[in-house]
Every structure is written in structure tokens, then in C-alpha cells.
């Protein structure tokens, strides 16, 4: 068994090369996931680059990314596999005239030809090492989570009619969650846990510098500072990293070189999405004493 990554530090450099600025914790956990062959459960506020992490890792490795977007009502048929009923029906109907016995037909219609693979099955039956991303796993119901357990712990899928399909290679699995509900213990136990929070000042500044071309270092620094201050205010929804980037882009487009109060409060609607938040932040930002309520 060869490992994908040399060590955490080199992984971090590789990620930087594909414009994903990780920190020690992120790189360390991904590295461990590879070593221990365990899935990573990535949690954190929206817009902190959880999905992007999986994408970037697959880019670093130069492998395919198979993505399963979770939603309410996701079931086995859409996550694992499904029998192609319609094709099976056609097969049976077209057989009527021939004198095939039932055993022959049933053997025939439950074969690979009539099996529709869905992302999870695809990920483990792929011959090449892939990265599997199970996005927003907190959106499925608790009962549906159980679907994932077999694949996450043993990297295999059991299909009653066909038997157990084992993974040809161990995929690197990422699960992301926005924490809208508590995931089950069983799921958590099988995963390494990574909490991705808002980046600290330096990292956010670097992110802005890499993601927004033409931005001056000075402006990026200011952007990061303002955003940090805004995050300290009690808001309904704190600005995410992607919103920071959008804001920085806007400022560049507007030709702003130094953020003044006026520009800041005029463009706050890019950072914040609730009217009450915008009002509150605008008020707070210009109050120098900085005592947030």
C-alpha cells in the first residue's frame, strides 16, 4: 500500500500550489486520513472552503473527484446503486416468446448490465484512486446516514442480488457538514474530524491575495482587518471567506485603494446578507470604542 502524501508539510505546499491555503490542522488531518485510510468529516460555518478542500486535494493528486451531493430524501437508489427497472421489464417482455426458463431470466436481469451505479458505488469500483466527496451530509435524514456506514468503514457495498463489491482501491473520502443537525455517533466514529473555522487574519489576507488578482497588499490587509472586526459583532450570519473574496473583488473593480467608512458601508451588502446585520455592522464599524454588544 503506497501512501499518497509524503508528510503534512509537503501536502500543505502542494495545496498552496493549487491556490488552496490550508493551515497546519487541515493539512495534518488530510495527511492522517491517507495514512489511516479513514474518511474525513469536515465541519464548519458555510463558505469556509470545505468543499473546496476536497476539490483541491483531488487536483493535487491529479485524480478524479466523485461527488455525491446530499439532500433531503436522498436514498439508496440515488446514492449507491439502482436496478434499471425499465430495462429489466423490457428484457422480460422481449423474452416472452422464447422458451427461457425463469431462473435463466432472473439470473440475467440481476447482472451488471442492469445495474445503474451511483456515486458511492462508482467511487469504490473505480480502478484508479479517486477522491470521493459526500457534500452536506447533514442534509440527509438520520436513517439515510446508515447507507454510508458500510462504505465508510469497510469500503465495500453489499448488493443482495450480486453479493459484496469490495473497493479496488481505497478512495480518499471527504464528508462535509454545515452542522444543521447532529450527525450520528456511528458516522462520526468512523471518521476523522476536522473543524474548518474562519481563517485568522494572516491566512485570510493571503487567501484574498491569491484569489483576487490585481489587489494591492495594502488593500488585502485592510479587507482582512475589516472582516475580522465584523465577525466579532454578533450577527445572524458572519461573512464567509467567499464573501470576503467577493467584497475584495468589488473593491478592486471600484478602483478603491483605501477603504474609507463611506465605501465600507456602501458595499457591506456584499459581505452581509441580512438587512438587520448590515445596519448593525454599519453602525458598529464607525463606533470607535469597539464595545460590541
Amino acid at each position: 500500500m503506497s501512501f499518497r502524501f509524503e508528510d503534512a508539510a509537503s501536502l500543505r505546499d502542494d495545496l498552496r500550489r493549487v491556490d488552496y491555503l490550508s493551515d497546519e490542522g487541515i493539512a495534518g488531518v488530510v495527511y492522517l486520513a491517507d495514512r489511516l485510510q479513514k474518511p474525513v468529516l469536515v465541519e464548519g460555518p458555510a463558505g469556509t472552503g470545505k468543499t473546496q478542500l476536497a476539490k483541491s486535494v483531488s487536483e493535487v493528486l491529479g485524480t478524479r473527484l466523485i461527488r455525491l451531493q446530499c439532500y433531503e430524501g436522498l436514498d439508496e437508489a440515488k446514492a449507491l446503486y439502482e436496478w434499471n427497472y425499465k430495462k429489466q421489464l423490457l428484457r422480460i417482455q422481449s423474452d416472452r416468446s422464447d422458451e427461457h426458463d425463469w431462473a435463466g431470466v432472473s439470473e440475467d436481469i440481476f447482472s451488471d448490465e442492469f445495474l445503474l451505479t451511483r456515486p458511492l458505488l462508482e467511487a469504490i469500483s473505480a480502478p484508479d484512486p479517486v477522491v470521493l466527496l459526500i457534500d452536506e451530509v447533514d442534509r440527509v435524514e438520520v436513517e439515510t446516514e446508515a447507507l454510508l456506514l458500510e462504505i465508510l468503514s469497510d469500503y465495500q457495498v453489499s448488493i443482495p442480488e450480486l453479493g459484496t463489491i469490495e473497493a479496488k482501491q481505497i478512495p480518499l473520502v471527504f464528508l462535509t457538514s454545515n452542522n444543521t443537525r447532529e450527525l450520528s455517533e456511528a458516522l462520526k466514529r468512523r471518521c476523522l474530524y476536522l473543524h474548518v473555522d474562519y481563517p485568522d487574519l494572516e491566512r485570510e489576507k493571503e487567501i484574498v491575495l491569491t484569489k483576487v488578482p490585481d489587489i494591492t497588499e495594502n488593500l488585502a490587509d485592510q479587507v482582512a482587518r475589516v472582516v475580522r472586526s465584523i465577525r466579532q459583532i454578533e450577527l445572524k450570519k458572519a461573512p464567509s471567506v467567499s464573501e470576503t473574496i467577493d467584497w475584495a473583488k468589488t473593491l478592486v473593480l471600484l478602483g478603491v485603494e483605501k477603504i474609507e467608512e463611506q465605501t465600507a458601508s456602501d458595499t457591506l451588502n456584499i459581505l452581509l446578507k441580512y438587512q438587520s446585520d448590515i445596519r448593525k455592522a454599519a453602525k458598529e464599524l464607525v463606533t470607535a470604542d469597539g464595545v460590541s454588544v
Binding site: E24, G28, L36, E72, K86, Y193, Q232, T287, A288, G290
Partner: protein
């Protein structure tokens, strides 16, 4: 095992080689995990094994990697991270090279040599000088380190400050907060903050309000860092003095969801307020989902037939109608007198945050008088604000502002009793400490006859019920249930069942 255990040498030498898990490390990790469990983190056996496996893959000399390896395998909930960090600090604080305590365990002699070493070895430049510094010089160093945001220098200052001001004596039975307080009092960080701001203004010239705000945040951030360094330093010394296990025990704090409403410190209160918003969001999502998926509606014949057409008329997939269970109506009657105000606040917050799950929510608050506050919550985006208004504006005092459940319930019954219908659930919040007034418990009985359910939520531990002037038992006999709700976990569980 003692704090200055045998693992120290191990930790140093293993800096580059992958770790061979020695007995000492195993034992240490074992103690660590036991402590995590004692702190309330659910660490299962598999996770324990994973952690042991994981640390084999990281260089143990690298403290941060080691921490993340343990964190990723043992801590599966963000709220628990803080507790994990504390325990980690205690267990592994002495195990880095730069934190080495003298071999002979002589605590008080080490700093000067230590700092000088640091200066020579790790370019901890500004930390040097040690003993010879006058308090003024130290203050100046503190100021400079904060001005420049030089973390190495801050570390040095933190060490010096603790050494000088905390007045730590081995074996003295006081908590870390005492030493922290003593150190901070001497450093006068508020004053330093003002000075920093002044300095920034002087050098950078005229500044807008926003700039000032940003500076303040920046310096505040640095000061917080310094404070963390000081705390860490104190903790390190205490661990060296008292041993790991004893120290971990004194630092054990309840997890946020277990913090008692009635005895929460100010800091815990702020944390609770922060915790309640994501919690309500989570609860609302879960309830909505449950409502939609809890049960299937009747068969939808038309859609089933339509779907069967693509399979040649075979109804492979039956379709069902969406279920549409009715929503309950909620009346919240809350005591907001001093002792239980926090509890009422959280409950109101929670109930309104999920008000979408109810067909109607009405709320009443009382002390000895009673007032309806439903209108405060209508069309308000920020529930916090509404709750604040309830506390300041509602007209709840009748005579003297001491709880009088009997009179308050009487007013309620007279004014609003007729609004209670068979679909109403009534929640009464309070400790039922009635100051020996008349109970008027017949009102609760009447309510129960009319309403669907009447629940009593009491923020006091069950063992205190019916002691002193508490008459909760008298009311509870007419309720469909009375519950002890002392922390967020219990509150959440109750509200979930209610829907």
C-alpha cells in the same frame, strides 16, 4: 505518574523519527483519554485505538501535529474542542523542549537560565534580561511586544510577568484564576490598550472612526494572545507543582450544553447566548424534517398511475401524498423575576426561534403582575432584541416585585383564560418560589381541563423542589408533566418532544 515524567526525553529524541510507542507514552495517552471522558467527551474505544494509531504517523516532537492528530481522532464535536484543548495543555504542556523544567524539578530557579537559553538558541531575543529588569522596563517591553505583535517577545514577557507578579508558591491551594488575576492586575492591560491606541494615532496622524475601531480590534487581539500566554504559563507551573491529574480535575468545566442556567458565570452566559442561535437553527431544521417525513400520507392514486406509465403500466413506485399534521398552539407563561430570568430568556428565545413549528405562539411574563408580550416578538428580526425589551418594558410588577405566582396566574386566568382551547399547550416556566403567597393552584387545574397539555418547567434541580417556599409540587399535580430544565441540553430535548 508525575508531571515531569519520563516521556520528556522521549519527546525530545523522537523529533524526527516516527514514534515507537513506549509504555510511558501509552500510559500518558491513557490517562489523557480517561480525563477527556471525565470531562464529558464521549470517547469510544474505536476512537481511542484510532488515536493510538494516528500518533504513530506524526512526529511527536511536533506538538501542534500531535495535537491535531489527537483532536481529529478523539474530538468529534466542535463545542468539545475547547475542553479538549484544556486537557491537552495540561497533559502535554511540559513536553516541549522550550518548556523544559529543570531536571531537578526546582521550579523557581529555572527562568533566568531558561530565558537566556531561549535567547541564545531560539532567537527569542527580547525575552532575555530576566531577573535584572525593573518593573518599568518590563512594562515597556510588554508595550513594545504588543506594538510590534512579536509573539516570541510576548511569550517572554508573559513568563516574566507570571514569575514576577503571580507570586506562585508550591503547594498553595488556590486556583489558577487567582494567579491570573494577580498577574493581570499588575500589568494593567486596559491602560496599555489605551496607550497603544494613542501611539497609533500619534504615528499615523488623523484617523477615521473606522480605522480606530480596526486598531482597537487588532490590539485587543494581541492582548488576548498575551493573556492566553500568561494563562498557559500559569497552568504549566501549576501542573509542575501539583501533577497532571489533580490539575486536570480543577480545570474541568461543564460543556456549554451542560452549563446550569441559574449558576452560569458572566462568561458562560455570553457563550450560552452564542450557542443558542445555532442550536435553535438546528432544532428548527430537525423539527421541520421530522414533520415532513415522520409519517407518510395516504396513497396518491393519480401520481402512482402516472409514474407507472414509464414502466409499462406496472406500478413499481407507489406515490404518497404529503402528510399534513396540524401544528400545536403554544402559550408560554414565564416568571422573569431575578432568580430565574436567564432561564425564561433562553426559553422564550428558543420557542420563538422555532415559532414556525407552531400555529400560534403567545407569551406572557410575570413577577407578581402579568403582562402579555407577544407583540414584542411580532415582525422582529432579532429575537435578542425582543427578549431584551421584554425584560425592560413589560409591566410585571404589581405590588413589590417579588414573585407571586398565585396573583399572576389569577390575572392570566381572568384576562386570557378564555383563549385557551383544546389545541393549546401551556408551558409555565418558573421555580414556583412563591414567597408564601397563596398558591391558587385551582387555576392550573382549570387550565388543564381546557388545554391540550399543561407543562411546568423548573430550572431548579429536582432535589430542591418543594423545599422552602417552593410549591412546585402543588402546581405539578395538575400538570401533564413537570420537568427539570437546567441547561440547554434539557431545554432542547423538551422543546423537541413538545412539537
Amino acid at each position: 505518574m508525575t508531571a515531569t515524567g519520563t516521556t520528556e526525553g522521549n519527546g525530545r529524541s523522537a523529533k524526527t523519527v516516527p514514534l515507537e510507542l513506549g509504555d510511558a507514552v501509552l500510559e500518558l495517552l491513557n490517562g489523557f483519554i480517561i480525563e477527556l471522558r471525565a470531562a464529558g467527551l464521549p470517547v469510544s474505544l474505536t476512537e481511542n485505538l484510532d488515536a493510538l494509531e494516528a500518533v504513530k504517523h506524526v512526529p511527536i516532537g511536533d506538538r501542534e501535529s500531535f495535537k491535531y492528530a489527537l483532536g481529529a481522532t478523539l474530538v468529534k464535536h466542535y463545542n468539545h474542542w475547547k475542553a479538549f484543548e484544556t486537557v491537552f495543555e495540561v497533559y502535554f504542556s511540559l513536553r516541549g523542549k522550550e518548556y523544559a523544567i529543570g531536571e531537578d524539578g526546582e521550579l523557581l530557579d529555572l527562568e533566568d537560565g531558561d530565558l537566556d537559553d531561549a535567547q541564545a538558541g531560539d532567537q527569542q531575543g527580547a525575552g532575555g534580561g530576566g531577573e535584572n529588569l525593573s518593573p518599568e522596563e518590563l512594562a515597556e517591553m510588554l508595550f513594545q511586544s504588543l506594538m510590534r505583535g512579536d509573539s516570541q517577545m510576548m511569550k517572554g514577557v508573559a513568563r516574566q510577568a507570571v514569575r514576577r507578579f503571580a507570586g506562585m508558591e508550591p503547594g498553595r491551594p488556590v486556583g489558577g484564576t487567582y494567579y491570573l488575576y494577580r498577574t493581570l492586575r499588575n500589568l494593567d492591560l486596559d491602560g496599555v490598550l489605551e496607550r497603544l491606541l494613542q501611539q497609533a494615532q500619534d504615528t499615523q496622524g488623523e484617523a477615521s472612526e473606522m480605522d480606530q475601531r480596526l486598531w482597537r480590534d487588532e490590539y485587543q487581539h494581541r492582548i488576548d494572545q498575551l493573556q492566553k500566554e500568561i494563562e498557559a504559563e500559569i497552568r504549566r507551573r501549576l501542573v509542575a507543582d501539583r501533577g497532571v491529574e489533580a490539575m486536570a480535575k480543577t480545570l474541568r468545566k461543564p460543556l456549554p450544553e451542560d452549563v446550569d442556567f441559574m449558576h452560569a458565570s458572566r462568561e458562560e452566559m455570553t457563550n450560552l447566548r452564542k450557542a443558542i442561535y445555532p442550536l435553535t437553527r438546528k432544532l428548527a431544521a430537525r423539527l421541520q424534517r421530522k414533520r415532513r417525513h415522520g409519517r407518510r400520507g395516504p396513497l396518491d392514486f393519480r401520481r402512482t398511475v402516472r409514474a407507472s406509465l414509464s414502466c409499462g403500466g406496472v406500478p413499481v413506485e407507489p406515490k404518497f401524498r404529503n402528510p399534513n399534521p396540524h401544528k400545536p398552539e403554544i402559550f408560554v407563561i414565564a416568571d422573569i423575576s431575578g432568580s430565574v430570568a436567564a432561564f425564561a430568556r433562553f426559553t422564550l428565545h428558543l420557542v420563538y426561534a422555532i415559532s414556525g413549528q407552531f400555529s400560534k405562539v403567545r407569551s406572557f411574563v410575570f413577577i407578581d403582575g402579568l403582562d402579555e408580550v407577544t407583540s414584542y416578538f411580532e415582525g422582529v428580526e432579532d429575537i435578542n432584541e425582543a427578549v431584551h425589551r421584554v425584560n425592560t418594558e413589560a409591566d410585571v410588577v404589581w405590588v413589590d416585585g417579588h414573585s407571586d405566582y398565585g396573583h399572576a396566574l389569577g390575572v392570566f386566568w381572568q384576562k386570557y383564560g378564555k383563549d385557551i382551547g383544546p389545541r393549546t399547550s401551556v408551558m409555565i416556566l418558573g421555580d414556583a418560589r412563591n414567597n408564601y403567597h397563596a398558591a391558587e393552584s385551582w387555576i392550573v387545574k382549570e387550565m388543564q381541563d381546557k388545554a391540550r397539555h399543561v407543562y411546568w418547567l423548573n430550572p431548579e434541580p429536582r432535589s430542591y423542589w418543594d423545599t422552602g417556599d417552593s410549591i412546585v409540587g402543588e402546581y405539578a399535580q395538575h400538570c401533564d408533566g413537570s420537568f427539570e430544565v437546567r441547561n440547554l441540553r434539557q431545554l432542547e430535548a423538551f422543546v423537541e418532544n413538545l412539537v
